[in-house]
Every structure is written in structure tokens, then in C-alpha cells.
Amino acid sequence: MEKFGFTISKGRQIDWDANNRMMADFIREREPSFKLCIACGGCASTCTAGNFTQFSLRELNVLIHRGEESISRNDIKKCMLCGKCSLVCPRGVNTRNVVFLAKQAFQKQDEYAI
């Protein structure tokens, strides 16, 4: 078939109904302070990893709550669990544990995918 050079763009919308927010539930159950994030970005501004890589805990937080976390699947590996973010957080979120649990959840997703 003749190639015309056109493609169909994938929608950019966050499809709330189609998305699965199981990871948010998984983390919330184990670390209830996860609910308290107000996306101020304090964690991300102080983050050593975030200053050199795409990793932003603030972004990850939001994405997990929307069921869009797969975008951050690789970025989260940049976190070194230093915990500086938890010193900054004005809401007292145990950010370090959130990252740890998110890593765990990604791992579980991988296991079940196989």
C-alpha cells in the first residue's frame, strides 16, 4: 500500500475511567501519608537525582494518583532513597517510603505481567 506519511496520533487525554489506579491504593494502604501531597514540589527541588535526571517525586505522585505512573517506570530507578525529600515535605509525607512502595509495586506489576 502507498505510504502517505500520515499517522493517527494517540490521544493525550488522561482517561480517568479507563485508567487503573491500583498503585495509588497499594501505596495509600501501606503509607497513608501519601494522601496528603499538595504537589508543592519541595521534594523535587531538593532532590539530587531530580537535578540531573527526569525523576520528580512530585510528578510521580500525581501520575500515580491518575493511574499514569507507567511514564515514570524508568525514572524512579534514579532515586537513591536518600530521604532528603522527606526532610522538606511540608505535609509530612513519608516520601522515602512512597518511593520504596512504588518501586515494589512496579516490581509486582512486572512479575504478574510475566
Binding site: 512530585r58 522538606v88 511540608p90 509530612g92
Partner: protein, 328 residues
């Protein structure tokens, strides 16, 4: 002061006890007021006139050490041994500004040019905004929510006036220093009062203030005396650093030390935010848990001047009700 004036007007005798040398509280430290930027002295003059009455005795530089419930009212003991008798008491101990040095990561008291909103007002009053070395600043930053909405310092609540104060002060800096660049670092812009949003809009439209959404995590000083601020520009989704000449901390409101002293020794209830806790937030927010004691103003929650004056007036109506009806 408003309560005293109103009570005197209604024919009651009032003792007004002020721990500072002058009445008027924080108004004495402020230059211009939001949102209309009138001189604070206008409001002070109004209040000072309000308490000019034969029925009002003002005790300046006086602290209440202790007060006791007696059969038909209260006895109040001052630090110099004077006792005052009262049928009813209005607690109007106001608020203290959060002490900027408690957020050590912002460097107040460590770096030369980290100041608080109150320090900046003093500069405005003098008409000179300068760095410690006397130079004129070219870039000024405002950190919102210092000591508010911050569980690390034990203050969960929003002080609600710092946002609009920052906007007001940002405009004033640009007025004083037309060549300067001004930045506000905020978590949320809470422009909930009359004409606040209009002032915010003016700050963008007329004065070109830069609003950056993110909580400042730390400030540091460079070798050439500049301040470097680290923040995530959350809307751009990237960490941001910026060099500034002056950093202004928008310190929030806390229960005053005087209020805390009274709370400790009186049995008056305080809330989780440590402010006095009225018996009902909706319809009895002047009434305390002790019969005959009432609250006026920011000793119960962060309030602006308009709210404080209204609250002080409503306290008077509660006192009059109490004296006319409840008192045996």
C-alpha cells in the same frame, strides 16, 4: 481597642491592658495595608480615637500575670501587683509572627539579605530598600508559607494573609525600584478577600511580578553575597534555581506568647492550631469555655484587620448580652 471603644460607647467602664509600650499591636510595624495600600497610621489613628473616653483606662506596658474567677466576676493581677476587677473579660491577645529563624533552611539570621515581611515593612517606612551592604537590590524573591501549612514547624493551618501581603509588597518593591525583578514562590495563591484577586492581577499586569509555583526547599549564599534559591517550578515540571539579592520570608501567624501564657494558667481551651478555641466556630466564635470570658480578634485564628474589627464588635454584643441577661 475596638471592643473597648464600643463598650465605652455603650456606657460600660473598661480597663484596657496592653503588654507593649503602645497599643495597636502589629499595625505599629506595618507601613501600608492590603489591598488598597493605605497607610496603617490611618487605621491606628481611628483606633486611638476610639479609645479616647473617660470610661476607658489604658494600662500600657502591663501584663496580666494571673486571673481568678470570683463570685461576681474576675480579678486580674498585673505584673506590678495591681489588681483589676471585672464583670467580664475580653481576651484580645492577637498573634505573633512566626520566627523566621525557625526555618533554618532559609537562612534567616545566617545570611545577610534574608529578611522577613515585617523587616521589609520597616524598610518601606524608611523609604529605602537596601541590602545589608547598602546596595540597591536588583532581584527580590518572596517565599510564601513560611511557618504556615508546614507540619515541620507544627503549623498545619494557612495564615491566609501572607499571600496577599506578598503581592502587596512585591508591587511596592517594584514601585520603589522600577529596575528590579521580583519573584513570588508560592504553593497556592489564596486570594480569598475582597479586592485581593484584583491586586494579584495588578501585580501581573502592571508590575510584571513573576509567580513561580513551588515550595522553596532551601536558600544558600554565594561567595559574592548573592542568595541562591532552590525550588521546583512545578508547572514546568523541572527544578529551578535563581540568584537573588534579597529574599523575603512571608512569615505566618501563630498564637501569641501572651495568649499561650493565659491559656496555660486559665483553663481556656485551645485548638489544634494552638489558638484559643471558641465554643462554636459558626455562631459563637467570641464565646469561650469559661462563662464571662470572651474572645476578640486573631487570638482565635488568623484574621485580617476587617475581620478583627468585626470580631471585636461582635464580642461586645456578646458581653452586653451576658451582662444584661446571664449574670446572676
Amino acid at each position: 481597642m475596638e471592643s473597648a471603644g464600643q463598650l465605652a460607647h455603650a456606657g460600660f467602664k473598661v480597663s484596657l491592658v496592653e503588654k507593649e509600650k503602645e497599643t495597636g499591636g502589629h499595625l505599629n510595624d506595618w507601613y501600608k495595608l492590603f489591598p488598597d495600600r493605605r497607610d496603617s497610621k490611618e487605621v491606628l489613628n481611628y483606633l486611638n480615637k476610639r479609645v479616647l473616653s473617660d470610661r476607658i483606662t489604658i494600662y500600657k506596658g502591663t501584663r496580666i500575670e494571673k486571673f481568678q474567677s470570683v463570685k461576681d466576676g474576675f480579678v486580674l493581677f498585673t505584673q506590678d501587683g495591681t489588681t483589676l476587677q471585672a464583670d467580664a473579660v475580653i481576651v484580645a491577645t492577637g498573634f505573633d509572627l512566626f520566627k523566621g529563624a525557625r526555618k533554618e533552611e532559609y537562612g534567616y539570621g545566617i545570611y545577610d539579605n534574608v529578611i522577613t515581611s515585617k523587616d521589609l515593612e520597616a524598610m518601606f517606612r524608611k523609604g529605602k530598600i537596601i541590602m545589608l551592604n547598602g546596595d540597591s537590590p536588583k532581584a527580590v524573591g518572596f517565599v510564601h508559607c513560611v511557618g504556615s501549612r508546614d507540619e515541620k514547624v507544627g503549623n498545619f493551618y494557612c495564615s491566609k494573609l501572607c499571600c496577599v501581603t506578598a503581592v502587596k509588597q512585591a508591587i511596592e518593591v517594584r514601585e520603589h525600584l522600577p529596575e528590579s525583578r521580583v519573584f513570588c514562590f508560592y504553593m497556592d495563591m489564596r486570594m480569598g478577600g475582597a479586592h485581593y484577586e484584583e491586586l494579584y492581577r495588578e501585580a501581573q499586569e502592571v508590575w510584571g511580578i513573576n509567580f513561580i509555583r513551588g515550595k522553596v526547599s532551601e536558600a544558600s549564599e554565594t561567595i559574592n553575597n548573592k542568595l541562591v534559591v532552590k525550588v521546583e517550578d512545578t508547572l514546568a515540571g523541572r527544578p529551578l534555581k535563581i540568584e537573588l539579592d534579597i529574599l523575603v520570608l512571608m512569615t505566618g501567624m501563630e498564637m501569641s506568647e501572651g495568649g499561650n501564657d493565659i491559656a496555660r494558667q486559665s483553663g481556656l481551651n485551645t485548638g489544634e492550631n494552638r489558638f484559643f478555641l471558641p465554643v462554636d466556630h459558626h455562631y459563637a466564635n467570641n464565646i469561650s469555655n469559661i462563662k464571662g470570658i470572651f474572645y476578640a480578634g486573631a487570638c482565635t485564628a488568623p484574621m485580617n484587620i476587617t475581620e478583627t474589627v468585626s470580631h471585636a464588635r461582635s464580642a461586645v454584643s456578646e458581653v452586653i448580652n451576658y451582662l444584661n441577661n446571664n449574670k446572676a
